[in-house]
């Protein structure tokens, strides 16, 4: 991203928590309002560095709709010190925000094609903005599909919104879980088991796929899509690496020749597919 218009990209701006939604046991979503000036526009797939005062900073994807930049939305899973502090924030609390940073999902460019979103677990958060964007222009895409996998029915993120996308917004939505108790009437099985079905009867060469989830899930899903005939330059994935500066200075997020903070997090599969399968980096 062009950081030249940000006065000091290392300086967090103050935001206030407007609302908090407890999504899952260890996952919370919050909406933020700026204190120090107007809201910053962002693109779907970009991330912010969120600073929990006195604790530290973490890279968290923006999961709101880019058409509504005044509502900055982030969904965080509590995995460590900073994310724990972020998920503890309540309405009225303050935090620091740097960003937005990084590359975005090329949603507009896929018009006329079958837009397939594939999310695993918390991977739905970085895709949410892109899904909202595609559904706002639904008729410009041949088809909009979401394939969403989670560990169990209790781990499904944004449950009501996912149902709404399927019921009212013209998206073809498939949800699948790894295991379930008897009584769950949806799909059971990893996302790759649903690919053939969701693409059934479609021209696979006209599919554009955005995949976000754990790295192994993205690797296997992309491989299967290619096997089904989806072009490698029509598949994008979103990578995560530890971040510090988020500006391409410190090298913390280096992944092969790329810095995930600046060249990513969204990468086109034909440019990184081989690297995705390497275990050394």
């Amino acid at each position: 991203m062009d950081v030249s218009n940000i006065q000091d990209p290392m300086l967090p701006r103050r935001y206030r928590v407007a609302e908090v939604w407890e999504e899952l046991d260890d996952v919370a979503t919050m909406s933020l309002l700026p204190i120090d000036g107007p809201p910053r526009p962002f693109k779907a797939g970009q991330f912010n560095m969120l600073y929990a005062y006195g604790v530290g900073e973490a890279a968290i994807s923006i999961s709101g709709d880019p058409a509504v930049p005044e509502r900055l939305i982030h969904t965080t899973r509590n995995v460590g010190k900073v994310s724990a502090a972020l998920t503890r924030l309540r309405a009225g609390d303050m935090l620091g925000v740097r960003g937005p940073f990084g590359s975005d999902w090329p949603v507009e460019e896929q018009k006329g094609r079958h837009m397939l979103f594939i999310a695993g677990g918390l991977g739905l958060a970085p895709l949410r903005g892109a899904i909202c964007q595609a559904l706002a222009d639904r008729l410009d895409y041949e088809e909009v599909s979401l394939l969403f996998g989670a560990r169990s029915p209790n781990d499904l993120l944004y449950r009501s919104q996912v149902a709404e996308w399927g019921a009212f917004s013209g998206a073809n939505v498939e949800v699948t879980v790894d295991t379930a108790a008897r009584g769950w009437t949806g799909h059971v099985g990893v996302v790759t088991t649903r690919l053939e079905r969701i693409l059934n009867g479609q021209d696979h060469a006209n599919v554009s796929a955005f995949i976000c989830g754990p790295e192994i899930m993205m690797r296997f899903t992309a491989q299967d899509l290619v096997e089904l005939g989806v072009p490698t330059d029509k598949i994008w994935v979103s990578m995560e690496r530890n971040m510090k500066c988020a500006l391409g200075f410190c090298g913390h997020c280096q992944w092969g020749p790329d810095f995930v903070c600046k060249d990513g997090p969204v990468f086109r599969y034909d440019q990184i597919g081989r690297r995705l399968a390497m275990r050394e980096i």
């Binding site: 695993g120 560990r151 379930a180 989830g213 192994i216």
Partner: protein, 154 residues
């Protein structure tokens, strides 16, 4: 009449679509239409794998029961999916329960009949394994991914 219907169903299925007329005639002779009420078992773990089912309508849960715990659904099958792969591999025993989650219509193929046809016509047996194995390997791979608990931390 029924045999004809079953042949049409088989020829439209990805696993059988490349089989020639004669082979489809042979296999259709092993088939019949079946219906299951919601919550009934197509087969139970440990049962002799005497049938393989091609699901035509409805949803089937593959469940594993553990003592003292409620059954866990580890896979769901839907129209077009195949249930009961154990018919192909000794000792021909089902390795899980298959429960109808809804009303289910399926074509069942009698495993003894199928194995008999394969023994009689080795070329058919070879073709059968060649077309079915990729489906099996896909499922094994999917189950490996499931074991990794992929999304737990993602």
């Amino acid at each position: 009449m029924e045999i004809h219907g079953i042949k049409d169903i088989l020829s439209g299925h990805p696993v059988f679509k490349d089989f020639d007329e004669e082979t489809l005639d042979l296999l259709s002779g092993c088939g019949r239409n079946e219906h299951f009420k919601k919550n009934t078992l197509l087969y139970a773990e440990g049962d002799e794998a005497d049938k393989v089912y091609i699901i035509r309508k409805g949803d089937v849960a593959i469940e594993i029961a553990a003592p003292g715990r409620p059954s866990i659904v580890v896979e769901s099958l839907h129209a077009g999916d195949i249930a009961g792969w154990s018919w192909m591999v000794p000792p021909y025993r089902s390795s899980a329960d298959a429960r109808a989650m809804t009303e289910v219509s399926a074509v069942s193929l009698d495993a003894n009949c199928m194995r008999g046809k394969c023994d009689e016509h080795p070329a058919l047996g070879y073709q059968m394994f060649k077309t079915w194995l990729p489906h099996l390997t896909k499922r094994v791979r999917a189950q490996r991914l499931q074991l990794l608990d992929l999304y737990g931390t993602g």
